[in-house]
């Protein structure tokens, strides 16, 4: 883990390290926590390095690299401090790498069970600068400390420097050259210094590197973006918002390569409407947003549904709510909103990806569903999945097939009806511009031709037609795309069934894989399709389970509620986490353990523990105490990079 102020480049360093490791064959999982702030507030990046595939992070830290005091003792410069640093997260036998300048805070640390490794970053930096002909400018180049810390971590871990040097150079892209050299050099000084003194001491060393393979290191937002390209998306609309923006920015970079139009709109109302009309206009269209943006989209969703537009695909990056909430933190709080947004009964497909690989394939499928059923398709992802960074085999694309659904046959004898009642349940669509395909379309209830009518027979038939498409999708979509079940086959009993959705899948999957790889005790049920919900299948599995534990990254246990709505079955334990952070692998086992030990029906988890009501207040008060008992500290200031423009 590396901790420091935002804007100091620590995420770049962490990702350089991840890349170097990935290229060397390691499996890597990176998770970032950061504030809704541009510069100065605290950020922490966790890298999990493994010899086998991993999809989650752990609570315990083995090597903590600290870029500032806040990483050590927290943000005690606030009236109400938010955290107490990360030292307590270091596992016994782990190590803390810190800058000699932080020394006075180190004295406050009462951990005899960890290594305290001091680094003279300024001095090392000065050496590198001197070599580059810039002696005595260490203060001005303080921003480079993160590169040195990177070097130090690699050295302390005893990993090779060359892959790291290469990754540093790559990170400067085309404009490499002197700056890159300087950075590589600085890192090397720190590397050498740390390697010499610290390497080999950690009992959790690096695992043996697995054989090298082709693998990508990818974030959820990139996977979604790539899938949109592959699916033939023609129009992406968006309004900037964390954590959804990354995907649109990714796509912006490929407009000319792939003939793709990315439209930055004036707000999210416009973003969805434009996407709906793009779909009507004949292109595959999509938009991406997060909660606050989606809160402005129910109108457009209903519009898409009643006009039976072939889309859009709406990717909803969940983040901490309610309202602006915790813009850069994790939550899975929008499930029920996504399912129920919009007045009246609205046909919709709601998918939820469980990991980065699912992000890719789900996004691709989403466009097919949109065209085939002429409904809006919402794909739920979350901040954790969007921004975590994972090694994966490159996505396979050869088997992917595009299905644009029913289109108007060329010859319709001049009597084409866009909303014709049909045996298939879906009316063939026409694309504006074609001769003979003129149609009308309205957000009001309408007749087969698309004109307004308020007649009862037509109303009944149109409602059934629209809602019937969701039932059709339920019949056509294969089970494997609805849910993933890992556990004893029917009719065997399931001792404990862990249900999950969204990015929690990674943690549940890893936890069960490590605790019970053959699923003798624990089975996993991961739900991928929320609407239409695979009610029968879930009910069947639930009926075999002796204890059902449902994981929800929100306060109210939304999936547990949905399961009860759809199946009438109450899970035995609804495990909830609403502290703005994703479930770790450890937390899954903690919760499963507590459930087996007879915990109550509702079970809240935070920071690796089961928490009682009122726990938050206790922690809150503890923090105040900490502030009182600790020396006054200053708020971190981000060193300005050289050439910083003011």
């Amino acid at each position: 883990m590396i901790g420091g102020p935002q804007g100091s480049g620590l995420n770049v360093s962490a990702e350089i390290l991840a890349k170097a490791l990935s290229r060397s064959g390691y499996y890597v999982f990176g998770q970032i926590e950061y504030h809704s702030n541009i510069k100065g507030k605290h950020s922490a990046y966790k890298l999990r390095i493994s010899g086998e595939h991993v999809s989650s992070h752990l609570d315990a830290v083995h090597l903590l690299s600290s870029l500032d005091e806040e990483t050590l003792i927290g943000d005690l410069y606030h009236e109400f401090p938010a955290h107490r640093g990360h030292v307590h997260e270091i596992a016994a036998g782990g190590a803390l790498l810190y800058d000699v300048e932080q020394k006075k805070f180190i004295e406050l640390i009462d951990r005899k069970d960890i290594f305290l490794w001091e680094m003279p970053y300024a001095e090392l930096l000065d050496r590198a600068l001197t070599e580059a002909g810039k002696p005595g400018q260490a203060r001005a180049y303080r921003i480079m400390t993160n590169t040195l810390a990177l070097g130090a971590s690699v050295g302390a871990l005893g990993f090779d420097f060359e892959p790291v040097a290469l990754a540093i150079r790559d990170s400067f892209g085309a404009k490499a050259g002197k700056v890159a050299d300087l950075n590589v050099n600085a890192a090397r000084y720190a590397y050498d210094y740390a390697k010499e003194r610290f390497a080999g001491q950690l009992k959790f060393g690096l695992p043996a590197a697995p054989p090298k393979r082709e693998q990508i290191l990818v974030k959820g937002s990139q996977a979604v973006g790539m899938a949109k390209i592959k699916a033939g998306c023609g129009l992406q609309t968006y309004y900037p918002i964390s954590p959804a923006t990354d995907e649109s920015v990714y796509l912006e970079g490929y407009q000319s390569d792939h003939n793709l139009v990315v439209l930055q709109t004036e707000d999210e109302v416009s973003a969805i409407d434009a996407a709906v009309m793009g779909a009507h206009g004949g292109v595959r269209a999509s938009t991406s947003t997060s909660g606050p943006g989606f809160a402005l989209m129910p109108e457009g969703l209903g519009f898409a549904a009643i006009t039976e537009a072939p889309g859009p695909v709406l990717v909803l990056y969940q983040r901490g709510g309610p309202s602006t909430g915790l813009p850069t933190r994790q939550e899975q709080g929008d499930l029920l909103f996504a399912l129920n947004a919009g007045q009246g009964d609205i046909p919709r497909i709601v998918m939820a990806s469980g990991d980065i690989e699912e992000c890719f394939y789900d996004t691709f499928d989403a466009f097919n569903y949109a065209d085939r059923y002429q409904v809006p398709v919402i794909l739920l992802v979350d901040k954790h999945m969007a921004s975590c960074y994972q090694t994966l085999p490159p996505f396979k694309t050869s088997h992917l097939k595009i299905d644009r659904g029913l289109v108007k046959p060329a010859n319709t004898n001049g009597d084409y009806q866009r909303y014709a009642f049909s045996k298939e349940g879906v009316s063939p669509r026409s694309v504006p511009g074609q001769a003979g395909g003129i149609f009308w379309s309205t957000s009001d209830e309408h007749d087969p031709r698309g004109h307004i009518t308020e007649g009862i027979g037509n109303r009944l038939a149109m409602m059934e037609k629209r809602m019937g498409k969701v039932a059709l999708a339920a019949r056509e979509i294969p089970d494997g795309k609805k849910y993933i079940y890992l556990g004893p086959a029917a009719p065997q009993k399931i001792p404990v069934l862990a249900i999950c959705w969204g990015s929690t899948k990674g943690a549940v999957h890893d936890a069960l894989h490590h605790a019970d790889p053959h699923h003798a005790k624990y089975a996993m049920l991961h739900i991928r399709l929320m609407s239409p919900f695979p009610a029968e299948a879930v009910k069947n599995i639930l009926s075999r389970a002796e204890r059902v534990v449902c994981f929800d990254g929100n306060y109210s246990g939304q999936l547990a509620r949905l399961i009860r709505t759809e199946t009438g079955v109450s899970v035995h334990h609804s495990v909830v986490k609403y502290d703005g952070r994703p479930f770790s692998e450890d937390e899954i086992m903690v919760a499963l353990g507590a459930a087996k030990a007879g915990a109550p029906e509702r079970l809240a988890i935070s920071e690796g523990r089961v928490i009682e009501p009122g726990h938050g207040n206790v922690e809150f008060d503890k923090m105040l105490e900490l502030r009182e008992t600790n020396p006054k500290m200053l708020a971190p200031m981000v060193p300005l990079p050289p050439g910083y423009n003011r």
Partner: protein, 316 residues
């Protein structure tokens, strides 16, 4: 332009009439506006299937149903986002937005602002009757302070929006005003708006005999100090055109000139084109950036055989 008809038969205004029953009130000014749109399209010989008409919600919003064209009766206030996307999907279509004044300048205000900035080659015809007619005549953004129609429960205490000035401020490159009951001239203005390459606003003074008893046929036919209230700018030597689009001074001056015309003292109301600036459109800029668009509209491109190998390699 692909808007030239491909068959011999010439396009008639009646070709743009749909068969559906029209349920506007007898005498509604909207009849005139929709006729004018139909006449303009016929004048330009655009075949109906090359036209997309996108309307909002309200009495004016029902227009889409009365047109024989690809017609979308969308949401209240959302004409602009819809128009934008339709044009992006197929830049060869003639895309016309139609809606009420509440739709355009009230709930749609934010989109109206953004629409001007984009300068897509589209035409927006606003049926301006000073009221929210379909919801029974509440004040719309164009009713002036102190005015009260018979449908309002009290006089307005807000200033009216001046659509001409607002459009100039937002960057529309063609800004005009018509009158619903002078259908012929209105059709000429709309034809010019369609021909204009860029975002065109045509604000149409529209009578609503059911709710607006202030701005009636009689009112518009009235005189001010012996002069007709309505008159044509093009009969006064007024020059709306920015002749050197690269000259910011001329642009500012032509805008100032239009501003002064739009708030004419004494209450006379000029009809016609207030402002016209020819600069590259949004599509032009997109084409420069996205090679495929130089050949075909987006909806006609084959986007379904893309190779993402380079994207994957970047991540290795």
């Amino acid at each position: 332009m692909s808007t030239v008809p491909t068959d011999v038969k010439t396009v008639q205004p009646a070709d743009f009439k749909s068969d559906v029953h029209n349920d506007w009130c007898p005498g509604c000014g909207d009849f005139g506006v929709i006729s004018a749109v139909q006449m303009a399209l016929a004048k330009l010989q655009v075949p109906p299937h090359r036209v997309a008409v996108i309307s909002g919600i309200g009495c004016a919003g029902k227009s889409a149903h009365y047109m024989n064209a690809y017609s979308f009766h969308t949401l209240h206030g959302r004409v602009m986002p819809s128009v934008t996307a339709m044009k992006l999907a197929n830049h060869d279509l003639t895309v016309i937005g139609v809606g009420g004044d509440g739709d355009a300048y009230g709930i749609g205000g934010g989109h109206f602002v953004a629409g001007g900035r984009r300068n897509l080659n589209i035409t927006y015809v606003v049926m301006n009757n000073d009221v929210y007619a379909l919801t029974k005549g509440q004040a719309s953004p164009t009713i002036a302070k102190g005015q009260k129609t018979k449908s309002m429960s009290e006089a307005s205490i807000m200033d009216a929006i001046n659509p001409i000035l607002l459009a100039l401020a937002c960057g529309y490159t063609f800004v005009a005003r018509g009158y619903a009951l002078d259908t012929k001239y209105l059709s000429e203005i709309i034809a010019q708006a369609i021909e204009h390459r860029g975002s065109a606003l045509v604000d149409v003074l529209q009578t609503c005999p059911t709710y607006n008893d202030l701005h009636t046929k009689g009112f518009y036919a009235g005189q001010i100090e012996g002069q007709p209230r309505l008159y044509r700018l093009d009969q006064t030597g007024y020059d709306p055109i920015v002749h050197n689009p690269d000259d910011p001074v001329e642009i500012a001056q032509k805008k100032a000139q239009a501003l002064l015309k739009s708030q004419e003292p004494g209450g006379r109301i000029p009809l016609g084109v207030y402002y016209k600036l020819d600069v590259p459109t949004y599509e032009d800029h997109l084409k420069a950036k996205i090679p495929g668009l130089q050949e075909k509209p987006l909806a006609e491109l084959d986007l379904y055989h893309r190779d993402i190998t380079p994207n994957l390699q970047e991540l290795m």
